[in-house]
């Protein structure tokens, strides 16, 4: 069966919708964050700030970055974990017995690449090695960059708060040992791990007709790796 002919919008509806939702929710966070920040400023006898001042502040920066870093950590771990670990019966998992990076033939790599395969899948050498791991690598690099950014923004926001409360600011090394940094990191990480773990096990026993994230409605609970 040939794929239907779709225009750009319909062919990219999923990424465009979530891209739009991301922008709407980011603006929502900026508006609510400005109000929340200004409420605390008034309590501390400090002047309120404009929307533009808030969205260019370290306070907004850390609130955005601390969430991004945990999302990329989640995907980084998920992409790598699902290579080696299985969940029997889950649509999120490979079949038991297929753990590992699989054969070149199964992965259509090198001489097994087809005419439409990406060129780096075919060429071999370091290009194929990098391309074969590019998804996990990108997620890992983005995690490290956003975690570093959240640590710098968090340090600036923490020191601004310290001064507002008539306390001394801390060094960057000092901030990495502060409860504020690890509280922010762990509170974001726990929710990501919960999400992945929940999804892996829920998908064994529950269905969502038509979603590629779910098994077919009539698939057995013990069937692994199918999507409907």
């Amino acid at each position: 069966m040939t794929a239907p002919r779709y225009g750009f919008l319909r062919a990219n509806a999923l990424s465009l919708s979530f891209g739009g939702l991301f922008l709407v929710t980011l603006v929502g966070q900026a508006i609510a964050g400005t109000a929340d920040f200004n409420a605390r400023q008034v309590t501390n006898g400090l002047p309120t700030v404009s929307f533009l001042d808030y969205v260019t502040s370290s306070s907004f920066g850390v609130d955005v970055m601390e969430n991004w870093q945990s999302e990329y950590l989640q995907f980084f771990l998920y992409v790598f974990a699902t290579v080696w670990l299985v969940q029997r019966g889950s649509s999120e998992s490979k079949e038991p017995g297929q753990e590992g990076t699989e054969s070149d033939r199964e992965q259509q790599v090198g001489p097994h690449a087809g005419e439409e395969s990406p060129s780096w899948a075919r060429t071999g050498g370091w290009r194929t090695a990098v391309f074969s791991r590019s998804l996990g690598l990108l997620m890992g690099v983005l995690f490290l960059l956003t975690w570093a950014a959240s640590s710098v923004a968090g340090w600036a926001a923490y020191n601004s708060e310290q001064l507002g409360q008539r306390q001394d600011p801390v060094s960057y090394a000092g901030y990495l040992g502060e409860a504020d940094f690890w509280n922010r990191s762990f509170q974001n990480w726990q929710s990501e791990m919960l999400a992945v773990g929940s999804m892996a096990i829920f998908a064994v026993y529950l269905r969502q007709r038509g979603s590629p994230e779910s098994k077919p409605v009539g698939a057995a609970h013990a069937d692994t790796g199918q999507t409907g």
């Binding site: 501390n44 006898g45 400090l46 002047p47 700030v49 001042d53 502040s57 370290s58 306070s59 990098v130 590019s134 690598l137 990108l138 690099v141 983005l142 960059l145 950014a149 600036a156 926001a157 020191n159 601004s160 310290q162 001064l163 507002g164 409360q165 008539r166 306390q167 001394d168 600011p169």
Partner: protein
């Protein structure tokens, strides 16, 4: 993978450099305001004008007098600027005789707390402070 990562790194480096330049100018402003506030030779009205509105209100309410009448009696020894910290819209200046906290307002940097004594992990104990 290469292009978006390289762009991100460049943006972070540029932003840090730009912010570093801005921070230098802000430190000068902050030090000047703190020094002028703590200058016993300056006119009382000028010194009071450097207080943040909420701090001025609290001071006049606590002392039951206009700021200009009482500022000369407050323990504000001032001295040479030893260290300046500026983070976002908040700042701290250590003078040889005092520690002063400031905030950025539409009218410029203003003093939120002065005549401050450190108390270890607790906030500084300040004679002049806001609500």
């Amino acid at each position: 993978m290469g292009t978006p990562t390289t762009l991100r790194l460049a943006a972070v480096v540029l932003a840090t450099a730009a912010l570093g330049g801005c921070a230098g100018l802000q430190e000068d402003d902050v030090a000047r305001v703190a020094g002028a506030f703590e200058d016993p030779g300056a006119a009382p009205a000028d010194r009071c004008a450097l207080l943040a509105p909420s701090t001025l209100e609290t001071l006049e309410s606590d002392e039951s007098s206009p700021c200009a009448d009482v500022i000369g009696q407050l323990p504000l020894p001032g001295g040479a600027v030893e260290a300046v910290e500026v983070w976002g819209g908040d700042a701290q200046v250590r003078l040889s005789g005092d520690t002063v906290f400031l905030t950025d307002t539409p009218a410029g940097w203003r003093v939120t707390a002065a005549a401050c004594q450190p108390r270890g992990e607790l906030p500084y104990d300040c004679e002049v402070e806001g609500p």
